[in-house]
Amino acid sequence: MTALTIALLLLGLGLAAWLAARAKAMAFARPAAGAARVHSLPAYHGWYVALWAVVPGLIVLAAWSHFSGGLIYQTVIASPEAAALPAFDMQRQAILGEAYALATGGADAAFNPQARALVPVYEGAIAFYFWIGLAAALISAFAGGAFAYSRVSPHFRARTRVERTVMAVLLLASLIAVLTTLGILVSLIFESVRFFSMVSPIEFLFGTSWSPQMAIRADQAGSSGAFGAIPLFWGTIFIGAIIAMIVAIPLGLMSAIYLTQYASPTVRAWMKPALEMLAGVPTVVYGYFAALTVAPAIRDLGLSLGIPASTESALAAGLVMGIMIIPFVSSMADDSIAAVPQAMRDGSLAMGATKSETIKKVLVPAALPGVVGGVLLAVSRAIGETMIVVMAAGLAANLTANPFDSVTTVTTQIVQLLTGDQEFDSPKTLAAFALGLVLFMVTLALNIVALRVVKKYREAYE
């Protein structure tokens, strides 16, 4: 936490600089009649000097915390005490690590006696570089502060400079979103390229056999390491886009229709937040509920119908996921029904149509593009959903259309491949990133199409 100490010290210095510069500017803030007008308020002078004091210090501090670890290590290795260390790399690293933990208070007792001898060396080196870092940070802070303080004068345009800095900070903050998007793309593509150098993309995208267990020995049976992802894609579509939508579209659409067209204001005021709560329940809760309550019920239902049913049936996961998706469908349907011009509704009612006829023949067809957009967004949400399928769907990569059977999904497999020990050169681990890339691309495409459909529809009625 030494870097934190220096950072806090720098902030204290910044405060002092702010007060000093403001006091200096206060002296000329209210000029006598006839004197030249002051450009900036005292506080802006304060901010200007404080920025000059803190920012160079923080830059030095960042550089120091980046390099000091290596420098400390070099000093310790070069010391006479370290000459007695075993030459074997792993052993030496273990002793050094132990000595470091002892020196920084991370451990209480040494396992290896050699580590004890190194502790004073480590403590000396850490203290030495701490003082160097502290001195460098303080010198740069004082130099920056003094330079800025000397510029404080009635004509100095402190406000302009401070505001320019603020604008730069604002721009930097908004660039973080672009950096995140780039980070996602680069990391997914980078690891996927490594995966596709081991497994051909054709096999991955069109193969029908998925068993990512790699053979540790060449003669091991049953661990062929097949990476055909079609069963995964099918499982994802089956649960997320078919079963879940069969549940969510009728329930969501009818709920939206009832709440906007029939319900009294009191019912609407209570039921709308209740439905929205369905989207606020954490998915891990849905997953637990699906595994604990829904899945056994589905299995019993299947057995009573004479169908051999799995405990991890696609139906259980899809059903619960459909319930989770209802608010997405219903709120989009709600918005697009509300956006249908009142004149169309009035016209239909005036012709003698009943309310339900108006809804079925006029409102829903007119609102259809918005509803379709909402359904596409819901599908993209459903296929990216992880916890429900991890907890309630299976791991067996079956290519089946029987809802009582077990299927697996892309997200389940990503979690499965990346938990436990990870080696970043095995296709098993890298396959997760390739699956992630496919998932990212598909959800992105669905979202873009959905937003375009909704936008076009809004324009039609404006």
Partner: protein, 304 residues
């Protein structure tokens, strides 16, 4: 009309005619049926929510006691508690809030108040809108590849979880913040500019304080989402067995939803009660956060 042997139009026009009465009755039945169908859809959805909550309460209420609220993870279901996981969640949320809130608000201010209309601004807007729709597990993959493999931050630590969730929460705050800033009427900006305030002063003295309730509401909703998020934390290894609460941001920790996931995998029957109890605690927190957001919106938001 009745003396015509072959009526040209089979539709009855006489209101008292039996066929007309039948037709009207049929249409009214269809009307009632449709309305009932809607009512059934709403009650089915709400009923499922009620069923879920009641199931959890029935199974878990007995598991909540002082030992459960103050203890940490253990192998014996009678000994387990959630304080360790809760503290992990708390540390993670502090990191998330500390990064997502300033970055989100600053981006929202820039995009809404200062950004010039050009290609760069379009790229920023498109990436924020897309990030809001990216599945959470993708953020987990990002955290694994960038924070753990590239930057070598400690595995299973709240700081990595917090960073990952911050990237996920930030777009939510930006979108809520932009809407709040947009709803401040232009006349306020014009008045401030008119008496000589600079563009930065207009925003920091007038627009931001007026938009703050809306921004806070969006932030709380985003944080509630982050608090319930499990998948990204699994990716970065926050699923360790933690027998004592984490002491700092860089120590191995787990989070409340991940703890629920871990307990749900246990075979021992005793864990069913504890898992449900942990779910009750998590849901209570989410409910409180959403309640606070609604209160803030109703109490402080000005309708112009």
């Amino acid at each position: 009309m009745s003396d015509l042997a072959f009526p040209l139009d089979p539709t009855p026009t006489d209101w008292n005619d039996a066929a007309m009465q039948r037709r009207i009755r049929k249409r009214y039945t269809a009307e009632r049926r449709f309305k009932l169908l809607g009512l059934a859809a709403v009650s089915l959805s709400a009923g499922f929510l009620a069923f879920l909550l009641i199931t959890m309460l029935a199974k878990g209420l007995g598991g909540i006691d002082i030992g459960f609220l103050t203890g940490s993870d253990a192998t014996d279901p009678a000994q387990v508690g959630i304080w360790g996981a809760f503290k992990g969640s708390l540390l993670t949320m502090i990191v998330t809030l500390g990064i997502a809130f300033p970055v989100g608000v600053l981006s929202a201010v820039y995009l809404e108040e200062y950004a010039p209309r050009n290609r760069w601004t379009d790229i920023i807007e498109v990436s924020i809108n897309n990030l809001a729709a990216v599945p959470s597990i993708i953020f987990g993959l990002l955290g694994l590849a960038i924070f753990l493999n590239f930057m070598h931050l400690p595995r299973s630590a709240p700081i990595v979880g917090g960073l990952t969730l911050a990237l996920m929460t930030m777009p939510v705050i930006v979108i809520a913040g932009r809407n709040a800033i947009k709803s401040v009427p232009p006349s306020i900006r014009d008045a401030a500019l008119g008496i000589g305030a600079s563009r930065i002063q207009v925003v920091s003295h007038h627009v931001l304080p007026l938009a703050l309730p809306g921004i806070l509401t969006g932030t709380i909703i985003g944080m509630a989402r982050a608090l319930g998020e499990t998948a990204p934390l699994l990716m970065i290894g926050m699923r360790a067995f933690i027998a004592s609460p984490p002491g700092g941001f860089t120590e191995p920790a787990t989070a409340l939803p991940v703890q629920i996931f871990l307990w749900s995998d246990e075979v021992s029957r005793g864990f069913v009660e504890k898992t449900s109890a942990a779910i009750i605690v998590l849901l209570a927190f989410l409910l409180a956060m959403n309640g606070l957001a609604i209160y803030l919106r109703n109490r402080f938001e000005t309708r112009w």
